[in-house]
Each structure stands twice: as C-alpha cells, then as structure tokens.
C-alpha cells in the first residue's frame, strides 16, 4: 500500500494526541475536586454572632449619645429663639440676641452634620472590627476546608446552595467560640 509521508505522520501522531488529551482530562480532575467555592453573608455574621450583636449595641449607645448632644443643642437654640422673640425688647438687645441665635443655629446645623458623619464612621469602625475577626475565621476555614474562593458579597452571587456552599453559620459558630 502506498503511503505518503503525510499519512504516515498522521498515523504516528494519533496515539500521541490521544495520550495528551487523556492526560489533560485526567490530570486536573483531582485538583478540581479539592478546590471548593464557599459563600458567607457578612450581614448575617453581624446579626447572628455575639460579637456582632455587641457591636450593634455599642453603636446604638453611640447614636444615643449623639442624639443627646443634638437635643441639648436644639434646646439651647429654642431657648435663644424664645429670648430673641420676647416682646418689648430694646432694639439693640434684640439685635444682640438675634445674632446669638443665628450663631447658635449655625453651630447646631454643623453639629447635626458632624454627628451624622461620626455615626457613619463609628458604624464602619465597628463593622470592620467584627469583619476582621470573621475574616480570620474565614481564612482558617478556607485553608482547612480546601476552599479556593469564598464570596462575601451577596450581590455577586446569583444562587447559593445553602447546604453545600453557605458557610455563614459555620463562621458564626466559630466566631462565637472565639469571642468571650
């Protein structure tokens, strides 16, 4: 049978090609089986752990303290307004009181803005404090459990099989175990 060099080369290459394909298909399989994907809901970690609940209580106390300051300032503004609007005041005195009221009202507005900013900052600080501890748990869990990726952004996940992928409860349990 006449064989061209080309057909001979195909004949020779076929087993080699199959061998490579086989290796490619077989080799990654064990690695794929070890690397898992997990998901943790940070909001649930905050809501369901002792650490998170304490942080929320701390934040509530902080907000109450800021509210107290705001109310105190508002009361001062109200008093000054009453004094400035009192009937029968000499013009000079009224002007002075109105000036005082304007300054106090501006200070009050500034206080409200600062309070809102401070509350936001404190919330971030407390959340970060909890999440840093949760991340330490996550890292350990990821290494031990062979997780390649653990998502923490609920918006980035379309579907989660809670039984196999959602690690929130495990993280919460572990975090509770680590906190007093």
């Amino acid at each position: 049978m006449y064989q061209t060099p080309m057909s001979r080369s195909i004949h020779l290459r076929t087993p080699f090609f199959f061998a490579v394909m086989l290796m490619f298909l077989l080799a990654p399989r064990p690695a794929r089986a070890e690397q898992k994907i997990g998901f943790v809901n940070p909001q649930r970690v905050v809501n369901e752990t002792h650490l998170g609940k304490t942080a929320k209580a701390d934040l509530a106390r902080y907000v109450a303290e800021k509210d107290r300051l705001s109310k105190e300032s508002a009361a001062q503004v109200a008093t000054l307004r009453k004094e400035a609007e009192a009937p029968g005041l000499p013009a000079q005195d009224r002007g002075r009181r109105e000036d005082l009221l304007r300054r106090k009202a501006a200070q009050h507005e500034q206080l409200l803005t600062e309070n809102a900013r401070d509350i936001k900052a404190e919330e971030t600080r407390l959340l970060q404090y909890v999440m840093r501890r949760a991340e330490a748990v996550l890292e350990e869990l990821g290494k031990k459990g062979g997780y390649a990726i653990i998502f923490t952004d609920p918006a980035a996940v379309g579907y989660v099989d809670k039984a196999s992928v959602d690690l929130t409860e495990r993280v919460a349990r572990e975090l509770d175990g680590r906190s007093k």
Binding site: R61, K66, L126, Y129, K180
Partner: protein
Amino acid sequence: MRSLISCIMAALLVLACAATGLAKEPGWGRVYTVRGKVTVRENPEQAALTVRVLKSGQKVRVDFEDGGWAAVFDPAETERVETRAQGYVRLAELRSEAKPGARSEAMSEAAPRPEKPDKSGKLQKSAAPDTADKGKKTESRKGAQAQSFGEIRVADRQMAVRAGRDKDTEFKRLLKAGQRARVDFQEDGWFAVFAPDEKVRELSRAWGFGRDKYLVPEKDYTGQPLPEPSEAAAKETLAKPAAAAKEIQAKPAPKQKPGASVSDAVGYTVQSRQADHLRPLAPVVLRVRIDVTAPPAPEALRKIMREIWKAERRKNEDLQVEVLLPSMDQGGLAYGVARFHDDGRIKEFWWREVVLRTKR
C-alpha cells in the same frame, strides 16, 4: 398600773436611744428633707440619665458640691466616699424642694468637715467654713438664696471683662483674683459676667464677658482671699508626675458591673498624642493604656478619663481621651472615648464592649 408605767418608760428609753443614734450620724454633708420631687441623675449634668426621683418627705445626705451639683447619699451613709453616692442633684432644685432648716444642716455646719476628696478621690481643699471665712460663706449663702439665675463664681486670677466673647473686644473692667461675680450665658468658652447681687437675667445688665475657665466655683478657688488650711497637702497630692507612666486616683462607680472592679489608684501610660494638622479644629487625640486587671465600669471609666484629661491637657487644646486596656492593640479600637468641655465636664463619652468580647 406599774407594768403600764414600765412599758411607757421602756418606750421612752427606746426613743431616747434612737434619738442618740441619730445624733451620732456621720458628721459630714447635709441632710435635706425633700418636699417636692427632685430628680437624681447619674452624673452631675442636666442631660445625664435619671437614676431615681426623690419624693416628698424623703431624707437624703448631700455632699461633694461642685458647680451647682451635689452628690446624694442615703442619710445613714457613714462613709464619705463619692462613689457610694446614689447620684447627683442640682443644688438649686434640691434647695427649692427641701424643707428649710433640715436637721443635719446645722449639725454639719458645726462639725469640722473632713478633707474633701474630689470625684476621683484626690484630696482637695476642704469646703468647711473656718472662722476666718465664715462671714464670707454666710454672705455667699445669702447670695444663693437671692440667686435667680446663673451662679456665683470667683475669678481665679486677675482677668479682663470684655465687651464681647472675644479677647480682641473692648476692655470693660478688671476682675481681681478672688473677686466674686454672677455668671451666666456660657458660650464658646465665655461667660456673661454680672454683679454678684444682680437679679435680672438680661445680657444688657452684664458687666461684660469673661473667659469661663478663669471663673471658678467659690469652693474651688485656691487663691488668697479664701485661704485653705490644707492647701499645701492638696498641692502635694495634685502634683503631676513627670514620668510617662503615671498614676491617677480613681474610684469605682457606685453602680459597678459585677466583676468590674477598679483599685483606688489606676496607673496609665500615654501611647500616642495625635493632632490632625489638616483639620485644625479637630481634637487632639490622646491614647492611653490604663493599668487595670478588669475593665472599669463606665462610670468609673468616666472619672478615670476626666483625671487623665486634667493631667494631660495642654493649654486650651481640645483633647479627646481614648483609653485602651492592657494587651489591646495600640492602633485598634479603644475601650472608652471621651471629649470634654473647656471646664473639664464631659461633653461626650462612649465605650465599646465589643473590644472586651475578643479573647486576647
């Protein structure tokens, strides 16, 4: 008949013993009998939490008067320790609602008062009137009765009274060290200053404006006209240690959480002092680590922080104190944070229990 007489005699004897017992009540503070309702607060601040309300007929022992506020104790309280107080009342409110000539008032006036520790336990000048300043005190009490607004304060140094709340405004008059004045309308670190006997709360009737930090409550005045026998001792106690590691006096709060105890003296180390140069109005943040075995309860923490503020504040800086507990991260979240008014009252205070929940 004989048994009836002996019964009456026994009853009289019991009454006499009880009276003697009452007479031997601790000779400190003043006992007031409340006529109306008086609010007792957690701290000497109008905005502080109400811890109880005194009802008509109730007797209370009152001491540690400071800035128009006083600590309230059980009348039977024997120990004169501020941390045993039930709370604080506004003196004006108490006086207006208390029965005049309450029994122990005279008693405490006659008895020499002990050296008065301040809220943190430091020794301060005694508020007891000695013979030399008795006249002045009587005068001051008369003033208090006539008081219709503000409070009487004393200039702790020679100071200017100005036309406005600014040091660049027109000079109005000079207050000499020790001179009394009625003050009100506190704003931006300035008081409106009135004649001590002024009864009308009108800014137009004020002498002018003076820096509030130089106008101290009468009992806190340490200058010449009101000499104090214990001045040297007080100064010695108040001397500030030069080393970085310091010790302040702090006592546990009356309402301590179980397990949270603070020894009488609390040492602390300054960890950092940071000023935000980009925001000149932002407070200087002082982080200190306190040397305690258990986290202090919030009320004790307030007192510790106030003492630290007093010791560490430089000039007129707005100093925010942040307290770390032993073995907490130096750069991490602080356990307690406090900001202060210029006169040392706490403006803002909060603490974070979350930092206690992490095993260290």
